[in-house]
């Protein structure tokens, strides 16, 4: 290494040092610590006590663990595909040459800006069984609506529905991708006699496939961590624990029951699951995703 190279190395490290310290203190250390805690009985007041795989073994027999996992997967399985399809649809609509396009874009995007807490309050009111707007509207068209947040069968669909209200970010990401598709591709497809569907299937989808993939992965990661809305809207996991989601159960174990070890075991299981899902996603997507210029 020449003196010049060494000087640049030192300078470079100096510039990135806040990032590296942050990485070590706020990500790598906690990651390692929670891995260690996951093999311990730890109530934060006394020292962690090594218990081997007991926490993981307990998870297998814990009904609430399975329930929270089921609820979370149920939510993700409903929300992620719906949000991907709906926001692509909206993005395509917003990409048309229409009047007041700016206004439409703002209206579709604004709900995404609403702080989740405030959004949860609005929907709490809309879903209200007695005076809620939704049930009144449904009763007007002759539907006897359920007590959304008090009915175990409807808590998760209700959460999916209100989460769909806030998919503005996904719409914007799609929109940016759609605008990047070269117009010539559509023109030459038209010359070849392609109709709407053929253009969508053979030009749009391949050209924006990296973004679809990105939204899919981010959607899954986000859905697996759903916390704030159900935590605010329903007390203690909702009726019959139907809204006890994975992160809520981690939170309860850690900060209600002071079971840091068990919470860490659950957290690491989630981490491994997310890494695995992402790996699986990238594997099954390889070859199906079209990367421009690569």
């Amino acid at each position: 290494m020449t003196g010049m190279e060494r000087r640049r190395l030192v300078l470079g490290l100096l510039f990135v040092s806040p990032c590296l310290i942050g990485l070590a203190v706020f990500t790598l250390y906690p990651l390692a610590a929670s891995f260690y805690y996951s093999f311990c009985d730890y109530d934060i007041l006394s020292e962690p006590l090594w218990v081997g795989t007991a926490n993981y073994a307990e998870m297998l027999g814990d009904d609430l663990f399975w329930k929270s996992l089921y609820n979370t997967c149920f939510f993700a399985a409903l929300f992620v595909p719906l949000s991907l399809v709906l926001s692509l649809l909206v993005a395509m609509l917003l990409n048309q040459a229409v009047k007041f396009r700016f206004l439409f874009r703002a209206l579709f995007y604004l709900p995404a800006l609403v702080p989740i807490v405030a959004g949860a309050m609005i929907w709490l009111w809309i879903y209200n069984g007695e005076y809620g707007l939704l049930n009144y509207a449904l009763s007007r068209i002759g539907i006897r609506a359920p007590q959304w947040l008090a009915d175990p069968a409807w808590t998760k669909p209700a959460l999916v529905f209100m989460a769909l209200w806030g998919v503005g970010n996904t719409i914007i990401i799609y929109l940016a991708a759609l605008q990047d598709v070269p117009v010539q591709l559509y023109e030459s497809a038209e010359i070849d006699g392609a109709g709407f569907w053929a253009k969508f299937r053979h030009v749009t989808i391949p050209m924006i496939s990296p973004v679809i993939y990105f939204n899919l992965i981010m959607g899954i990661i986000g859905a697996m961590q759903i916390f704030t809305r159900p935590y605010i809207m329903m007390e203690r996991g909702g009726p019959d624990n139907s809204a006890l989601f994975y992160t809520i159960y981690i939170f309860q174990n850690a900060f209600r029951y002071s079971r840091m070890g068990y919470a860490s075991a659950m957290a690491w299981t989630l981490f491994v699951a997310i890494v695995f899902l992402t790996w699986l996603g990238s594997k099954s997507a390889s070859g199906k995703i079209h990367y421009e210029g690569r």
């Binding site: 290494m1 640049r8 190395l9 470079g12 510039f15 990135v16 806040p18 990032c19 590296l20 942050g22 990485l23 203190v25 990500t27 906690p30 990651l31 610590a33 929670s34 909206v90 609509l93 048309q96 229409v98 439409f104 703002a106 579709f108 995007y109 604004l110 800006l113 702080p115 989740i116 807490v117 405030a118 309050m121 609005i122 929907w123 709490l124 009111w125 809309i126 209200n128 007695e130 005076y131 707007l133 970010n169 914007i172 973004v211 990105f214 939204n215 990661i221 697996m224 916390f227 704030t228 935590y231 994975y246 981690i250 939170f251 900060f255 840091m260 957290a267 989630l270 981490f271 997310i274």
Partner: protein
């Protein structure tokens, strides 16, 4: 065909945007009503105030009960279906029907005073209760404190993340050094780590540092360059022509001077994006404050909003909606001012794909 297509597009857009806006309208409508009108069925979209002539004076009144059959009104104002329910006390007989209902109304200034009137004697006017906002703030005792905490956190985290991540992004893009790109790949990979995984050890760490119950755990981290912000700025820095740096170098500038005088001014739009996204995150964050803040008098706005939410019914919906609007409004204002940066920032998050 073209026209049909256009019509369908417009129809979908209009229906969609009305649906997206309805919750806002409902929130605003509720926030401007008095409590009893929030609980009327069927619901009204507009907030009203009712007036009636009582003892020769025009008074603001609150409808309490609708009477559609013969009823007996006791001296204390209780409306009874049957005379015997009064238990021998003197009652007044009122006769009403489905077609000519009567209303028992109370005076708005003194709810213990009441009268029974024909519907035609009661008039109403649209009158938003703007005072709900002030009352909600007053009732939520610590509102000024919550607002101060939230703003303080926003300023600290915005400054912290802009300063630290622009430094890091410079080191990762404008200086060539051995192992740089490999290290950056590691930094990028940590974006995948979900917060719940690091939540417990972070809590233990801050507890060990004696920071639980203070605002510190909520801003300290922002001074250590989060991966996503570094990624965003690095992307932008790489697009700035190398000649600019080289020219400055020939003039004898050191790296830090180049960073300060050349790169930062050129990267202003990207810095604004980072600042905006960080502001949004801090303003909205719920889980962080929930974990680290212990004293109700020291919450942030997002956490304090739960104040009006009562678990056993009796939620003051008009105040809850008014307070929610107060939490949403600054974000909306920011969007109106800086929507270009917003959209740009969100679009850039998709570039990772």
């Amino acid at each position: 065909m073209r026209i049909l297509w256009k019509t369908v597009v417009y129809l979908l857009l209009i229906v969609g945007s009305v649906l997206m806006s309805l919750p806002f309208a409902w929130m605003l409508s509720t926030a401007l009503k008095p409590i009893e009108q929030t609980m009327s069925m069927p619901p009204n979209w507009l907030p009203y105030r009712y007036y009636a002539e009582i003892d020769g004076k025009r008074e603001a009144v609150v409808p309490v009960e609708k009477i559609i059959s013969t009823a007996y009104v006791a001296d204390d104002g209780t409306v009874l279906r049957r005379r015997i329910d009064a238990g021998g006390a003197s009652v007044r007989v009122v006769r009403a029907s489905e077609n000519a209902p009567l209303f028992k109304v109370a005076l708005e200034r003194d709810r213990s005073k009441w009268a029974v009137l024909a519907a035609s004697d009661v008039s109403r006017r649209v009158e938003p209760r703007w005072e709900n906002f002030a009352n909600a703030v007053k009732e939520m005792r610590y509102f000024p404190r919550y607002l101060w905490n939230t703003l303080l956190l926003c300023v600290l985290t915005v400054v912290g993340s802009v300063v630290s991540s622009s430094l890091a992004a410079y080191g990762f893009s404008r200086i060539e050094w051995k192992g740089r790109d490999k290290l950056f790949a590691v930094v990028l990979a940590t974006m995948m780590v979900p917060f719940p995984v690091v939540m417990v050890p972070l809590y233990c760490l801050f507890r060990w540092l004696g920071m639980i119950g203070t605002l510190q755990p909520l801003w300290v981290g922002s001074f250590f360059a989060q991966a996503f912000n570094v990624f965003l700025l690095r992307q932008f820095f790489m697009g700035i022509p190398k000649d600019l740096s080289d020219a400055a170098r020939i003039d004898g500038c050191g790296e830090f001077t180049i960073f300060l005088k050349v790169i930062l001014p050129a990267a202003k739009p990207a810095l604004v994006v980072v600042a905006l996204l960080q502001f949004l995150f801090t303003w909205n964050d719920f889980l962080g404050p929930l974990i680290y803040l212990t004293d109700q008098s020291d919450y942030t706005l997002a956490l304090g909003l739960q104040f009006f939410q009562s678990q056993n019914g009796g939620t003051e919906w008009h105040y809850l909606m008014a307070a929610s609007i107060l939490v949403i409004a600054p974000i909306m204002l920011l969007f109106v001012i800086a929507q270009r940066s917003f959209i740009q920032g969100i679009s850039m998050t998709g570039m990772k794909g």
